[in-house]
């Protein structure tokens, strides 16, 4: 069998930045902002968005926002909202929010960061022209922590728009950036390939394939560089170099299956079949749903056949046939299960979704053919997007359902409060009115006395502070004096005058003392009024709280109930459509897989027959060559 080295190199888009994550450390600290980070860090973006959206909305509604704890972090908060929205797959809203920051009256660094983020969103959505426009708006000072990211994104946009000559100097500069190790080198190789300079590309892949890696992403890009380099060399017929590159790919990395397969072909092309057996024997022991493994199941007996070990080749072809057959049965069962609607049911199983590795666990479920190929289906971008949306909607559906049920509980609470307060409030209100009238009376009296005090401070009026006794005696003396005619006893008139003088003496001499006492009493009166006012305010608050605890909710609850109902119906419709499309994509992909396996099966069947023929012929040749007496020993 001749291996067709058919390498499709498609260098359309290059490295995409990761979907916006959350900054490693939340700013210190607005409480609700930090609470939103707490949710987002757990991947609960809906809760994070709900919290931070509310906080920002409240902040914007303040008369004096500069007094709010969010004020120093408002731009960060707006960017975080954008990040949360991206992670919650709400690109439109994220784009709008960031564009709003960009157009606002913000400092240069903030505007540049917004432009970067907007460019990143456009790039992720494949809107390259918009991404370019956004990134070119960056002008002036860029925050140091995103400077390399900005340049890296700019280079990627240039590469994706086939402008390698502009990407190259940027990528060269980024080669030393620690957080990007391996990525600029890899993309420089892509730039070389775009300019048809394969030799330069191979050199760059070599560099990217030998970087020191301390984390998984760098190890992955290193593996990928070696795989691509090996594949290019294999296609160019430089088999030894290809094998060296392919052998650098880690055996436990995501690219190892393809590397093992290609390494075997590199040996086979040089007729080193024994050496090819090593990677292929490793490969055939791996997961048999992987296309590279399936191909190795045919390649391995092919190598044995080339080594004239036809019996072993026949056995392996037979095993491949059995494996393909059982795989085909499994595919049929999976397609059937999906058609029966069990696929979507399995995806939203609560106990599975709680598990971090739920996609992997779905495979290990007994009697669950509907999800056996889920990991393979996840390789398709459309399927992945559709599945994420389906699961997001399931989450929203559950929330809405829970909220729908809580409205009845709210109604119950409100009814209970109304039943409790309404019979009690009339009596309380009567008491309140009594307190209030007493308070008003006191207030009026206090006001009059205060005015009097003020006037006495300006012009002394001792008579204002005369005691009741002095006033009565003085009035009686005056009445007596008025009752006397001109012939009255002069001594009597004098006595009355003396007594009046005595009272006047008392009133005037005690004036300052009395004024001080009056002031003290007025203060006491003020305290009593303050106490009454406090009681009054407390009553008003409690009275309002009582009323607010059951009045005024009906319209809000009714409106929310309607909105929840409408949203639930829309989600049901969308889920049905999304689910149908997911099923269709899954079925189509599994059917394509079936067709490929049927092709393999056919090849294996022919190769098996051929191996039997060759094995039989070899056996016959041996028997012919042996002396008669040896036969049967």
């Amino acid at each position: 069998m001749r291996r067709q080295v058919h390498v499709l190199l498609l260098f359309a888009a290059v490295a995409l930045m990761a979907p916006a994550g959350i900054a490693a450390q939340a700013p210190q600290r607005d409480l609700y902002f930090a609470e939103a980070v707490f949710w987002a860090k757990q991947g609960l973006y809906f809760d994070a968005l709900e919290r931070l959206d509310t906080e920002i909305t409240q902040h914007r509604g303040l008369d004096e926002p500069e007094l709010d704890t969010l004020y120093p972090f408002i731009h960060d908060a707006e960017f975080f909202v954008g990040d949360f929205e991206l992670n919650f797959r709400m690109h439109h809203r994220a784009g709008r929010a960031i564009a709003a920051v960009l157009e606002g009256n913000v400092p240069e660094v903030v505007r540049n960061e917004a432009a970067y983020r907007l460019a990143r969103i456009h790039f992720q959505k494949g809107q390259l022209k918009d991404a370019l426009i956004a990134i070119e708006r960056i002008d002036g000072r860029v925050p140091a922590e995103i400077r390399d990211d900005v340049d890296y994104l700019r280079a990627n946009i240039y590469l994706a728009t086939a402008r390698p000559e502009e990407a190259r100097p940027i990528l060269r500069r980024l080669q030393g950036a620690r957080a990007l190790t391996g990525f600029p080198e890899y993309n420089l190789a892509i730039a070389d390939l775009q300019e048809q300079d394969t030799e330069a590309a191979l050199h760059q892949f070599e560099k990217a394939g030998s970087v020191k890696a301390s984390d998984e992403s760098t190890r992955a890009i290193r593996d990928k560089s070696n795989l691509v380099r090996g594949t290019l060399l294999l296609e160019a017929g430089r088999y030894d170099e290809a094998k060296t590159a392919l052998e650098r790919v880690r055996l436990d990395g995501p690219f190892s299956n393809q590397a093992l397969l290609s390494a075997g072909w590199a040996d086979t092309h040089q007729s080193r079949y024994e050496k090819a057996l090593v990677p292929w024997n490793i490969l055939v022991a791996r997961n048999r749903t992987d296309p590279a493994v399936q191909e190795a199941m045919l390649a391995l007996p092919y190598a044995y056949g080339a080594l004239n070990v036809h019996g072993r080749a026949a056995v392996l072809y037979n095993q491949a046939l059995e494996s393909f057959g059982s795989e085909l049965n499994r595919l049929d069962a999976s397609i059937e299960a999906i058609r029966e609607g069990r696929f979507l049911e399995a995806l939203v199983r609560e106990e599975i979704r709680k598990d971090r590795d739920w996609v992997i666990r779905l495979r290990s479920l007994p009697e669950a053919p509907e999800t056996y190929y889920l990991m393979e289906l996840m390789a398709s971008h459309d399927f992945q997007t559709g599945l994420s949306n389906y699961l997001d909607m399931e989450d929203l559906r559950r929330r809405l359902s829970r909220w729908g049920a809580s409205f009845d509980a709210f109604d119950g609470i409100i009814a209970a409060r109304r039943d409790y307060f309404e019979p009690r409030l009339p009596a309380l209100d009567k008491q309140f009115r009594d307190v209030d009238s007493r308070r008003r009376l006191r207030l009026e009296q206090h006001e009059i006395l205060s005015d009097r005090l003020q006037s006495m401070l300006v012009a002394p009026r001792p008579e204002f502070l005369a005691t009741t006794g002095e006033r009565v005696v003085s009035a009686r003396l005056e009445a007596l004096r008025e009752g006397l005619d001109a012939d009255a006893d002069a001594e009597l008139i004098e006595r009355i005058g003396r007594l009046q003088g005595l009272i006047t003496w008392q009133v005037k001499t005690a004036y300052h003392e009395r004024l001080t006492a009056f002031y003290g009493h007025l203060q006491d009166s003020q305290q009593a009024i303050d106490l009454l006012t406090e009681q009054y305010d407390a009553y008003v608050r409690v009275r309002q709280a009582a009323t607010h605890s059951y009045v005024g909710y009906d319209r809000t609850i009714k409106r929310l109930r309607t909105r929840v109902g409408e949203a639930s119906s829309r989600i049901d419709r969308l889920m049905a459509r999304q689910g149908y499309l997911l099923e269709q994509v899954a079925i189509r992909e599994l059917e394509a897989r079936s067709r490929r396996l049927e092709g393999y099966e056919e090849r294996a069947r022919y190769a098996l027959a051929d191996s039997y023929d060759r094995a039989t012929a070899a056996q016959a040749a041996v028997e012919t060559a042996l002396p008669a007496g040896v036969e049967g020993e």
Partner: protein, 180 residues
């Protein structure tokens, strides 16, 4: 700076391994446009549900936790490396208010500067007692448990209390009550 991860790469290289090459993109192609349109509708419904959530949350707060009686307690981790936090128990006036056992994700979120709202409830105005018990493990593997008592005033405004955990070695700051 965020690290680009390999999983997010648009495949720069598609390796076709045989003449029977299986192209997933092609298989899904007929419905791609419909999927995109659906994707946009899903984004719209998410926006709508978020708006409902915000309004509902305001209603709940008004109905269940009016500002005159509202008390919220938040937990933050000030020195994540000092110990491994397992659980926090909060009692107010001797009554259990919250007992939370932390998952790995929650600890990671706290270590990244996130703040957890551990309790929201209603209390009358006046002075109250708050007791916080922290349970965890030290880097040496030994068990760690510490309890601190605090008093706080509740007035007519909502009261936000922050428990900052710094763990052993932080002296008096091991468990601190902050007023927010």
């Amino acid at each position: 700076m965020q690290k680009p991860i390999a999983a997010t790469f648009v495949a720069a290289v598609f390796l076709g391994c045989s003449a029977l090459g299986w192209n997933t993109a092609r298989a899904a192609e007929p419905s791609a446009q419909e999927l995109r349109s659906l994707d946009e509708q899903v984004q719209e419904i998410k926006t709508d549900v978020l708006a409902i959530a915000a309004e509902l949350s305001a209603l709940e707060e008004q109905l269940l936790f009016p500002s005159s009686t509202q008390v919220s307690v938040f937990v933050s981790l000030e020195r994540p490396d000092a110990f491994r936090l397992d659980a926090v128990r909060v009692t107010i006036d001797g009554e259990l208010a919250a007992h939370h056992i932390y998952s790995f994700k929650e600890l990671d979120a706290l270590a990244s500067g996130g703040v957890q709202r551990i309790f929201t409830g209603n209390l009358p105005g006046g002075e109250h007692e708050l007791a916080v018990t922290v349970v965890g493990k030290l880097p040496s593997g030994k068990d760690y448990q510490q309890t601190e008592q605090f008093t706080f005033e509740k007035s007519i405004d909502p009261r936000l209390l922050g428990i900052a955990l710094a763990g052993p070695g932080a002296g008096e700051a091991a468990i601190q009550l902050n007023d927010w």
